[in-house]
């Protein structure tokens, strides 16, 4: 019994993002140096790249928060010294 009849995909008017996948000749380019590196070890380096991006992004976020704290500290110090300094 067929519940959902599978329709043959019409590729004549396919949008750019799926033409790659409906065509049979993938891959079309020989792997370049970057791909040879990243595809080694069953693509584990891709995971490494993703984790590093997240790590660097989160670290940058922490550093930005720290810079805000520094600025506030300097401001506070300047205000205090202004108040206590004699006229």
């Amino acid at each position: 019994m067929t519940i959902h009849p599978i329709q043959e995909a019409d590729t004549t008017n396919a949008a750019p993002y799926d033409t790659i996948w409906t065509s049979q000749e993938v891959p079309v380019q020989p792997p370049d140096a970057l791909e040879r590196t990243m595809l080694a070890q069953d693509k584990l380096y891709v995971v490494l790249a993703v984790v590093l991006i997240i790590w660097i992004g989160l670290a940058a976020f922490v550093l930005r928060t720290d810079r805000k704290i520094d600025r506030l500290e300097r401001k506070l110090d300047a205000s205090i010294s202004q108040e206590t300094s004699p006229e």
Binding site: P16, E35, L39, V47, S79
Partner: protein, 231 residues
């Protein structure tokens, strides 16, 4: 303050230890090998939680904006702003990691980084909508007026999330799971991977909470300092 310093430090330490375990599990546990994906299936633990965290952050932000409209308490406005900021940071990380993942799986042999996959495109649009929120805030000087306008806009921005990230991409030919013709996440994911994945989502949302609390404390402190020395 909503939480005491002691509670904050305790949750922060738990979150950091938790995420360390998630990273270890993410790399060390065995996963089924699938063509094209291979080891990059592990990105499920790192790339996807970025988006879950972003959505949680935007939900918190919208919630605080709603509270601001009800109470006109400046703290609520600060909370909405900081939640949106942290959420946008997670969104940018999700986009960047997605580009790298796609380059070496979907677009291998094509040499392209970006091909307007509907989900990617809509996520970028969503980030631009939040970019407009920050720009809008900086264009109004008067705090009361700024808070009100920003809160109303923020509710609109949050209302776009389910449409841009779920409804639309699922109607189109996206390569992401759950789109037209692709099975949804829950149908295809190995049980071990699901456990680590949910742990990662909880961990990163916890990390959002840490950053968010930190920045709200800082912003409140800044207000207090400015008030104290405004003479």
């Amino acid at each position: 303050m909503p939480v005491s310093g002691k509670t904050y430090r305790r949750i922060r330490n738990i979150v950091l230890a938790w995420l360390t375990l998630v990273a270890l599990a993410g790399f060390l546990l065995d996963i089924p090998r699938i063509n094209i994906l291979e080891h990059t299936a592990r990105n499920l633990y790192f790339h996807v939680p970025m988006w879950f965290t972003m959505m949680a952050a935007f939900f918190v932000s919208a919630w605080r904006s709603g509270q601001y409209l009800g109470s006109r308490d400046p703290l609520r406005d600060t909370q909405a702003l900081e939640a949106a900021r942290v959420g946008a940071a997670f969104g940018v990380l999700g986009l960047a990691t997605g580009i790298v993942w796609a380059r070496f799986t979907w677009y291998v042999g094509q040499g392209i980084w970006w091909n307007f996959d509907p989900k990617q495109t809509m996520a970028a649009v969503q980030l631009l909508i939040y970019g407009a929120y920050f720009t809008l805030r900086s264009s109004v000087e008067e705090p009361e007026k700024r808070g009100r306008i920003a809160a109303v806009y923020n509710l609109f921005a949050a209302a776009c999330v389910p449409f841009l990230l779920y409804a639309l991409p699922r109607q189109m030919d996206s390569l992401h799971p759950g789109a037209e013709g692709n099975p949804a996440f829950s149908d295809i994911t190995h049980p071990t991977m699901r456990v680590v994945f949910y742990a990662a989502v909880i961990g990163f949302i916890g990390l959002f909470w840490v950053f968010y609390t930190q920045r709200v404390r800082l912003a409140t402190l800044k207000e207090r300092v400015e008030d104290a020395f405004r003479t």
